[in-house]
Symmetry: C2
Subunit: 313 residues, 2 copies
């Protein structure tokens, strides 16, 4: 019998300002977004996906990304990242001063088509173009590239995804990597991943790719009630960072029935129960969760927000 001992620390990557806000149709006032992000930072969040450098025609909610990034520059303790769907987005993100870029490729062809309207190979070419840009600007050592591998466990159109399929896409991505440091997130886009599947994928992929140029992360949902269990199984099989959305704000328009990312507060409760260092104050984060849950048009999913607060420490 193995005893599962908690890790010393886990990076919480807060994604409500990107995944979460993006799920709200009606554009939110920039000041409200800034207020929520400030509350998250005050709670102790140090890694935060702040938004997307996408065309405002495609996602009007992200039209003010430049203003938001400008507001939060010069916070040396913070690691802000932004999603960049293509080379243009990467240029804008780098111009804004950001040094962490999130690039999404779905493992399944049909989901990649639905999500970004191009083939997986075309998306991988886009990744190569971004790496080329980093070298052109001599930023290859200054930037962390987060590769979000969407549908790493399940696809709403194709069903269960085998780890070999993830391996094939990751292999091509690494051919494009060219010494840029990369954090690979296995993303449970639909929330249908199960803990033993998470264990298997992380184990097998780390066997294939677990050298020092890669870090590993997990991005999950609690739609099927697996949120916390999947995150912990990821951690025990090599993930050092977990994406989570405060208040569980979110949903995915291309993953029918999916709720938001696993609530940051639920994950913190699990981790702090094992004295895992996250740097985040749960009571303060619950205050941020209340702010976020009060945003008009948002869908939330959280357990901790609905229990008595007096004993949540």
């Amino acid at each position: 019998m193995t005893i599962l001992t908690p890790p010393t620390r886990v990076d919480i990557v807060e994604v409500a300002p990107r995944d979460g806000f993006q799920s709200i149709r009606e554009p939110l006032p920039t000041a409200d977004k800034i207020r929520c992000i400030e509350a998250l930072i005050e709670a102790g969040i140090t890694r935060l996906e702040i938004g997307s450098f996408v065309s405002p025609r495609a996602i009007p909610q992200m039209a003010d990304i430049g203003d938001i990034v400008a507001h939060f520059t010069r916070r040396p303790a913070m690691r802000f990242s932004a999603l960049v769907p293509n080379l243009k987005g990467a240029q804008l993100a780098l111009d804004s001063g950001l040094r962490e870029l999130v690039y999404v490729v779905s493992v399944s062809e049909s989901h990649n088509q639905g999500n970004v309207r191009q083939s997986v190979d075309a998306s991988l070419d886009g990744l190569a173009a971004i790496v080329e840009l980093l070298h052109e600007r001599d930023l290859q050592d200054a930037v962390c590239l987060r590769l979000d591998l969407g549908t790493s466990f399940d696809c709403p159109y194709e069903g269960t995804i085998d780890w070999h399929q993830v391996d094939a896409v990751l292999g091509k991505a690494r051919d494009a990597q060219r010494n840029v440091s990369m954090e690979v997130a296995l993303c449970d886009t639909t929330g249908r991943a199960t803990p033993y599947q998470v264990a298997e994928h992380f184990t097998r992929l780390r066997e294939q790719h677990g050298d020092e140029s890669l870090k590993w992360a997990f991005h999950g949902h609690d739609t099927y009630g697996m949120g916390v269990a999947n995150a912990l199984f990821a951690i025990h099989h090599g993930a050092t960072a977990i994406d989570a959305a405060t208040a569980g704000l979110g949903g995915c328009p291309f993953a029918p029935g999916a709720t938001g990312n696993t609530a940051t507060e639920d994950l913190l409760y699990a981790l702090h129960g094992g004295k895992v260092h996250t740097g985040v104050s749960l009571p303060r984060l619950l205050e941020a969760a209340d702010l976020i849950a009060a945003l008009p048009g948002g869908q939330t999913a959280s357990h901790l927000r609905h229990v008595p607060r007096d004993r949540v420490g």
Copy 2:
């Protein structure tokens, strides 16, 4: 890095007919209860806590327990159990033909007083009296005694419970055991247990007590979003049986804010994802969950009931 491999099989102990029905104030028609239990059996449930032999004045919902047990006798593949709060209840349960008795002792004094209006030591004397009864009737080898250790992780009045406190109560219970086979359930009465705490308690208590005369079980809630994670951590630290309530029906009047037990369907989804044998059909169980959720006056909490059914296999 340890790889968590799924166990071959896990016993699901269905508790909606006891914990769940008991949470409904207005007595349900006996026929409705029988219909729900039949649906659970048809789904493949083989261990089922069918009700309580308590005074109908204390819990009117359980007044028809005799009729329900009589309806379900002579099903050799089934392991039915019933909660017995005292010697009188044990006599009635044995008279009805049941051979699995569930006896509850809370680890915390204040919760035991709130739950059964007597001290922990008085409850342990009650356990000794039941064991004595089994020997008087020469049933010591024919009966399985389930000991539910309430508040094994947290008490609504006293806060966090240390494993030494559980150890002290379990030690006294074992002094009363006298060769009767016993399954010990560590019960997360409030839902506040966290996965690493579950791991620690099972590990330490099995170090102290893990001889062949004991089996181990876990009884949890999803109130804090830990339901599935706690159950899996219990399984990986020695639990071979997990209590769960279909549809998540339930709640505890003496544990403010607690929702029902972790939904059987959510737990099955996690286990079947690892090809763990449970003997239960998830699609059939979801039909039972719909029946149970339609009972008037019940509170439910389930993830799987609210996702599209077409891909739940």
